[in-house]
């Protein structure tokens, strides 16, 4: 991506981004807040460039921040009413690292409240629209960030992925979306959804940018005890250009839309044609992933959301006569229905007498799943699978049918349970012009090689060839 220089000022880059943000905001509802003061930071970068001072690897690059990252700039709302008015005194580690390299946040992006959802329809501030079709969902929960990149407002945006919240909106909008190995990027300062699954990741226009963002943000953080020792960029890579890719057979059925299955088959052929080995693999434990996910995740959600009690920060109900009323009304009015649904499921599966039957069983299923992935990666370098069963669906189509909405996550959640990296690669479009993405999955800590190979897949795909065509025509710089 372009960075500021003597020939290209940070101010011009940030100004352009802000103009686009304001231009698209009324129709698409991408942002919960647009940071017009970003210009000031751009001026500072330009001053330093003019003075010949050293600037970072992202000097003057405007970016969009999913509104569940804490920074003192603007309110951190997580698109939830209960965080209304919350101004954070601290800055998330990932944000610190980006800004240390000169990146400039031009706005906070919309999400499903507390990242609970697959469409960004569960936002207290209203849904974000799909970048290709205003009648369709952006995907979620990081919908705002995906659309901000897809519409070219910013070259990259942050996201969080607990069950597909980066990869699915990336595929719905035709951009790259990467969920790293669990523990690669610090979660410090990111509003928690489910702590043992949450990952910070990015939306980007290409894999080179994605690699750069990972180089900058990956790394152990003493403020997050679950971060892994530094590995990104340190591993031995690129030793063998020929890869063995496994296509998971278990998803080749009518639950997945024909166009997406066709895209997967076409991509497998393309890989073979390019000299890679493609095999088929059965992964029977995958069928337990969604059930396990919708037990473990709500349990952690219920726990993590307990702190929102109206006592110390955020929203407090007017109607809080005594302590019980304060709790009930604050949480009753402050959470969205989907938040409440997950809190109730979570508290149910953790309650005494049910813990063994649900939570413990789900934890066992999770272990099985991890073992099955380990086995798979002894047989192949990468797994290739769809990101979601369908392309972007219509606004309102599933929002009142929680189970249908949960089924959207059937292909993505297994990676979170196993802590694996996954890259959503734009590969083409449906007949109706909706983007289709495929998900490339690698072993733990195989993130960098995964990103590199994702770039190769993209280049050879229909989406890649369209771009090549546009390049020749001079449509894209």
């Amino acid at each position: 991506m372009k960075t500021a220089s003597k020939d290209l000022t940070a101010v011009s880059m940030v100004k352009a981004a802000l103009e686009k943000a304001h231009h698209y905001q009324p129709d698409y509802h991408i942002f919960t807040w647009i940071n017009d003061a970003a210009i000031k930071k751009a001026e500072e970068i330009d001053r330093r460039i003019a003075a010949g001072e050293k600037v970072g690897r992202l000097a003057g690059v405007p970016y969009a921040l999913k509104d569940n990252f804490l920074t003192p700039e603007g309110e951190t709302t997580a698109s939830a009413r209960i965080l209304e008015g919350f101004e954070s005194p601290v800055t998330a580690t990932a944000v610190k690292k980006l800004e240390a390299e000169g990146a400039i946040m031009i706005g906070r992006t919309n999400l499903d409240a507390f990242a609970h959802g697959s469409s960004t329809e569960n936002s207290y501030y209203g849904p974000t629209k799909n970048s290709k079709d205003l009648t369709r969902v952006a995907g979620g929960s990081s919908g705002g960030s995906a659309v901000a990149v897809a519409l070219g407002i910013v070259p990259f945006a942050t996201g969080t992925d607990t069950g597909g919240s980066i990869r699915q909106p990336a595929s719905f909008n035709g951009v790259f979306g990467f969920k790293p190995t669990y523990g690669t990027i610090s979660r410090y300062g990111v509003v928690a959804m489910a702590s043992s699954l949450d990952c910070v990741g990015f939306f980007a226009e290409n894999t080179d940018d994605m690699d750069l963002l990972m180089m900058i943000c990956a790394g152990q953080d003493s403020y997050d005890l679950t971060t892994l020792p530094d590995y990104y960029g340190k591993e031995q890579v690129f030793d063998d250009p020929v890869k063995k890719i496994a296509v998971v057979k278990d998803f080749d059925n009518e639950a997945i839309s024909p166009e997406i299955r066709a895209a997967l088959k076409a991509e497998a052929e393309e890989l073979r044609a390019n000299g890679h080995e493609v095999i088929e693999l059965e992964m029977p434990a995958l069928k337990y992933a969604l059930a396990a996910y919708y037990i473990i995740t709500p349990a952690e959600i219920a726990s993590n959301l307990s702190r929102h009690d109206g006592i110390r920060y955020g929203f407090r109900s007017e109607d809080s006569g005594d302590l019980t009323a304060l709790y009930q009304n604050t949480r009753g009015e402050g959470f969205m229905s989907e938040n409440k649904r997950r809190i109730m499921i979570g508290n149910f599966v953790l309650s005494s007498g049910f813990y063994d039957a649900y939570y413990l069983k789900a934890a066992k299923a999770r272990t099985l799943l991890i073992q099955e992935f380990d086995k798979a990666f002894r047989e192949c370098d990468f797994l290739l699978m769809p990101v979601s069963p369908n392309p972007a669906f219509r606004l309102g189509e599933k929002v009142n049918d929680p189970v249908a909405m949960y089924l959207e996550d059937v292909l993505s959640v297994s990676l979170n349970l196993a802590g694996l990296p996954g890259l959503s690669v734009p590969v083409g479009e449906t007949e109706a012009g909706l983007p289709v993405g495929l998900q490339l999955v690698g072993p733990r800590r195989g993130d960098r090689e995964l990103i590199r190979f994702g770039g190769e897949i993209h280049k050879n795909s229909a989406a890649g060839s369209t771009e090549r065509h546009a390049d020749i025509m001079g449509g894209k710089d």
């Binding site: 569940n68 997580a78 702590s195 952690e300 219920a302 726990s303 702190r307 006592i311 110390r312 953790l350």
Partner: protein, 492 residues
């Protein structure tokens, strides 16, 4: 209360008025606040004494969104030391869990504790009378904040939120209120000796939850238990246990059931009252803490902490048992620094340590000298010299006490024992010639004439009067037994 208790002193079985015999069974959970520099999961000051409310609170303790706990290694090391003091197995791998409930003193809506894999395994505590109370386990957890209620408002102070606690859970091995008290006291000693807590009970550094049930003698099952929560003195533990035992026996005798419930204790009324029944009990929805990986300790760390442990009460009992009177020793054991000092003296002089122990208990622990306990203790050299002078009759026991007290005098404490004794003028005159001269001058005084005659006439008891006169003449420096001897010779 007021009436004579039906619970007889230290006996295990309790006879009711109807003549039936009951056995109380007591288990105790004790929360010990660790005196680490920082909190369990954040880097703010753990010592909030004298600080304004909410001034020792990190974003983690405040429960800000997105904040993650950072484990304070020091707290784990303290827990290891606490475990060793409890003669317990140290679990080299332990884990944290979340315990959920809503209350304004609990910012995250859950407490991070160790439900399933505690850091300290089975151990035992030996009471002064030799009774062994088994420890089921002990675990690390964070303390909650504090609420106060003023003018219709409830105020939250989070200074204490996140303070590391070790919760010590005993087996139900205790069968009397007195043993309950002794157990708590012994725990307090062990924890203060191990230097893992300030041990200030008044400020809640140690708090006790006492589970009590009674069953008729010979019953195969324990009775239903009630839990008296949040006791913060040994006396209230004893009184509450005694009250509960009586209350439960009365209920059983009246054919009523004891309810499983949480009860509160009032020192003022001397009664326990129901707070929360089992049906109302919270479901804590425990789950593994996903933000804190398992704690892994090396065997070396355990040995390092073991080496840090000073002599413990049991060591002192072994060292001084039979030398120092048990009552005196048990009182002194409440003061680890005094015991350390005694051990230092004992290294050179066993009999000297006994003498110093008596000075500690009769002078230092006398009510009027309570403030001295906060002062610096005399040095080993000062005490050893004091012992020597006492043993060589250079000091009378009264003189010894005077010198001992001056060790705490800001003007004198840096001087050596001899100098202090001389300045006080309490060094005993043991020079016989000098003593004879004093005796002679006293006998020459007309006012002693009658006493001399009486003694010669066989009235033995006037000798005391004459000795007294000599002592007065010598301004207390004379050794009274030497004076007596000289007098007897002279008045033959």
């Amino acid at each position: 209360m007021g009436q004579p208790s039906i619970v007889s002193q230290m006996s295990e079985k309790v006879n009711s008025r109807s003549g039936k015999s009951y056995l109380p069974t007591i288990g105790i959970e004790c929360h010990v606040q660790l005196s680490t520099k920082t909190k369990l999961f954040s880097e703010v000051d753990n010592d909030a004494r004298g600080k304004s409310p909410n001034s020792c609170v990190s974003p983690v303790d405040y429960g800000l969104p997105g904040m993650l706990p950072r484990l304070n290694k020091e707290a784990a090391y303290y827990a290891v030391r606490a475990g060793l003091a409890l003669n317990a197995k140290i679990n080299l791998e332990s884990r944290f869990d979340r315990k959920h409930y809503f209350y304004p003193d609990l910012p995250k809506g859950y407490q991070i504790t160790q439900m399933f894999h505690p850091i300290i395994g089975e151990g035992f505590v030996e009471l002064p009378d030799g009774t062994k109370i088994r420890i089921e386990h002990a675990h690390l957890e964070e303390d909650a904040g504090k609420l106060s209620h003023e003018n219709g408002y409830s105020l939250v102070d989070l200074n204490r939120a996140g303070t590391p606690l070790v919760e010590i859970v005993s087996q139900p091995d205790i069968h009397s209120a007195e043993h309950a008290r002794d157990y708590c006291k012994e725990l307090w000693r062990l924890m203060t000796y191990a230097e893992v807590t300030f041990g200030d009970l008044y400020n809640g550094n140690m708090r006790f939850d006492v589970n009590i049930s009674v069953a008729e003698e010979g019953a195969t099952e324990l009775g239903t238990r009630a839990e008296v929560k949040n006791l913060n003195s040994f006396r209230s533990v004893e009184r509450a246990a005694k009250y509960e035992i009586e209350r439960q026996i009365k209920l059983i005798e009246n054919g009523e059931a004891v309810k499983q419930e949480t009860r509160g204790w009032s020192d003022a009324s001397g009664e326990t009252t129901a707070q929360r029944s089992k049906e109302m009990a919270q479901d804590y929805r425990y789950m593994p803490e996903p933000d804190v990986p398992p704690v892994r300790l090396s065997k070396e760390v355990v040995e390092v902490e073991r080496a840090k442990l000073p002599k413990m009460p049991a060591d002192y009992r072994e060292l001084f048992g039979g030398l120092i009177a048990t009552d005196t020793l048990e009182v002194l054991l409440d003061y680890p620094l005094l015991m350390q000092k005694l051990a230092e003296v004992a290294d050179n002089s066993g009999t000297g340590a006994v003498k110093i122990a008596n000075l500690f208990s009769s002078v230092l622990l006398a009510e009027e000298n309570a403030s001295l306990l906060n002062d610096e203790l005399p040095s080993r050299e000062q005490l050893l010299k004091l012992v020597e002078m006492l043993e060589e009759n250079q000091l009378s026991s009264t003189g010894g006490k005077e010198v001992f007290l001056k060790f705490f005098d800001p003007e004198m404490h840096y001087k050596n024992t001899e100098t202090i004794a001389k300045e006080l003028g309490v060094v005993q005159e043991n020079d016989l010639a000098a003593l004879e001269a004093i005796v002679d001058s006293m006998l020459a005084k007309p006012e002693t004439k009658k006493a001399q005659d009486d003694y010669r006439a066989g009235q033995e008891k006037v000798l005391g009067f004459l000795v007294g006169q000599v002592m007065k003449e010598s301004r207390g420096k004379a050794n009274p037994s030497s004076v007596q001897e000289i007098l007897r010779k002279k008045l033959q």
